[in-house]
């Protein structure tokens, strides 16, 4: 009851005119950076950081939080429309979202992404408001062995990401692991596979890699079709998801929300990881997994819900412990400090008004984003009506600037081109890039936590069995691998 009263107080502050305007501005800008590939919420927030000094602390922070949430909403747009991921958390949305768009269901895909995002973000906020304290204590219990086990679980989903050949999927995943190992060794800082190029010291960035593998490769592959692609006609009533879509997607949204909810709290987990894992889970649970990668709506609903839920709950460790669990919140942490407010256990005591105002503003921001994004859908779908000879050069432009704006470095454009060609050849040789990207994202976290665990235990693998959370995750991994084999065997007997 007290929490409700405080929330109402927070809402009242957030509803003041100037704060409302700031939320709106944040949401708009966030949607923009989400839609545009490359520059992400972390970049946008840090750009606005100096400008936000003129604002009162609460106003500044709710605007910056709006950017983060807006980016999570907007990220899926270019993934669905043109196969160019808007930011890292939307890479996996390319797989089915783009296929849906090619079948004339772009509206449904965009719509389910927006609604899924709204539901997930709201659930995440309720969690943030009610059980922030105990949740962050739980997250702290995650040490290197627990991370290792959970990431291993993530890896086992690669089996389900494979559309056709398991061997080829494994080859792709191992290539992803090796690409992820490029850069300075995470423990000893020794250069690995860098060929003396200093821009490789911090490893490859996932965004230029994904823009190349998905976006540019798609264009290169489409160019050679001599027959002009038939123009996709979209009728207005197809702009929004229909009842059938809802029925298919509802469990995906719920599961995606739950996965995002918990992964978001974990330091280092966050939106990117949860989007991949929720996609894998959906494919695992689907009755016809072969639909995935060919335009399954669950493949859009689950990751988009997961990344928004994760975005909301990632505020929990920041606000309760003073620990930013991902890059975006690290920048936001800086923003808090610059305004003389220290996020952490004392925040609720010292600045209750600000704490509740942030939560209130996020509720409002979510509603604004829902209302703002729905009318945008028909507008976005129009993009697909542009003749492709005009569209392609523009998409290439988007790919180029997107890659550049990650580190403001031309080097990333080269990386994008190289992986564009690589992705194009992969198609020709009948390989799928999805396991590569998943392994690339998980690989470095997997390695560093394995090595840290072994350092902690002085080389004994017992550390993974002694700790309950780690053990539980390992048992799950075992089941994920063993069950399909068991099924296959029993089927054969029949």
């Amino acid at each position: 009851m007290e929490a409700l009263n405080s929330l109402l107080g927070g809402l009242a502050i957030a509803f003041e005119f100037h704060n409302l305007a700031l939320i709106l501005a944040g949401c708009l800008l966030g949607t923009l950076v989400g839609v545009l590939p490359g520059i992400g919420p972390a970049g946008a927030i840090s750009i606005l950081l100096p400008l936000s000094f003129q604002l009162p602390p609460a106003g500044a922070i709710i605007m910056l939080a709006g950017i983060y949430n807006g980016a999570m909403y907007g990220g899926s747009t270019t993934s669905i429309l043109v196969n160019v991921p808007g930011e890292a958390a939307s890479v996996v949305t390319c797989l089915d979202g783009y296929q849906m768009a090619r079948k004339g269901k772009a509206g449904a895909a965009l719509g389910i992404a927006v609604f899924g995002s709204f539901i997930a973000a709201t659930v995440g906020l309720i969690g943030l408001q009610l059980i922030a304290g105990p949740l962050s204590e739980f997250a702290l219990k995650f040490g290197p062995p627990e991370y290792f086990a959970v990431i291993l679980l993530g890896f086992t989903f690669i089996i389900y990401l494979a559309q056709r050949s398991i061997i080829k999927a494994a080859i792709m995943a191992l290539c992803g692991l090796i690409l992820g190992a490029i850069g300075l060794d995470p423990i000893t800082s020794q250069p690995r596979l860098t060929f003396g190029i200093i821009s490789l010291y911090e490893g490859l960035h996932v965004v230029p890699l994904a823009i190349g593998l998905f976006g540019l490769a798609e264009i290169l592959a489409n160019l050679e079709k001599t027959v002009p692609q038939k123009i996709i006609k979209v009728k207005f009533r197809n702009l929004f998801p229909k009842k059938a879509h809802w029925l298919k997607a509802r469990w995906a949204i719920i599961r995606g929300t739950l996965i995002g909810f918990f992964m978001g709290i974990l330091p280092g987990g966050g939106p990117v990881l949860s989007s991949f894992i929720s996609y894998g889970v959906e494919k695992r649970l689907a009755k016809k997994p072969q639909r995935f990668g060919r335009g399954a709506i669950e493949g859009v609903a689950a990751p988009e819900s997961a990344n928004n839920a994760a975005a909301s709950t990632s505020f929990i460790p920041l606000l309760t412990l003073g620990i930013p669990p991902n890059v975006v919140l690290a920048v936001l942490f800086g923003a808090f400090l610059m305004h003389g407010i220290t996020p952490g256990p004392l925040l609720l005591k010292e600045h209750p008004d600000i704490f509740w105002c942030i939560i209130g503003s996020m509720y409002i921001g979510n509603i604004i984003l829902l209302v703002m994004n729905l009318p945008l859908i028909p507008l976005w779908v129009q993009v697909l009506r542009i003749p492709e000879r005009i569209l392609y050069p523009l998409i290439i432009l988007l790919c180029v600037i997107g890659a550049f704006s990650i580190n403001n470095n031309v080097f990333d454009i080269f990386i994008m081109i190289i992986f564009g060609v690589f992705g194009y050849l992969l198609r020709k040789f009948d390989y799928e890039p999805a396991p590569l990207i998943l392994a690339f994202v998980l690989g470095p976290m997997f390695e560093v936590n394995l090595r840290r665990s072994l350092l902690m235990s002085q080389g004994s693998f017992g550390i993974f069995i002694e700790r309950p959370v780690a053990l539980m995750a390992l048992v799950l991994c075992f089941l994920v691998i063993v069950l399909p084999v068991y099924h296959a065997l029993t089927k054969r007997k029949k």
């Binding site: 080859i171 191992l174 690995r192 600037i401 080389g459």
Partner: protein
Amino acid sequence: MNRLDIISGVIFLALAFLVLMHAFTLGLGKLAQPQPGFFPFWAAFFLIIFCLSLISENITGKKNKSETSFFLREIIPRKSFLIVLSLLVYALLLPRLGYLPATFFLLLFLFMTARIKIWGALIKSLLAVILSYILFQYLLKTPLPQTLGIL
């Protein structure tokens, strides 16, 4: 038997061996203190195993997939090749010429390869380059490479 699979398998196999060699030079370490080479070593090791099984699966020909004809010119059609080339040239010119002229020429070239008439291509390129410049340089404050230190 699928020749494309054999070719790609051999290419990945060669890459895996290179990584394996590199891993040894980095040092594998021991279990209590794995060294930088530890992880790439195992990744390359498994990559070799999977490549070998892909190759052997295709050579023994248990699965008789449809033969995909392969010729370099089918794999790399001229247009895609031109576009990749133009992008490489663009990335080289960008820091020297600056964003506005370099991107203008890139777009002009891309529109021309898409068989858009010269005037239309000129106008579209100009529009796209200026709009994108305003969006990224001013609104999003991305420091795009400048021309002559002004724009």
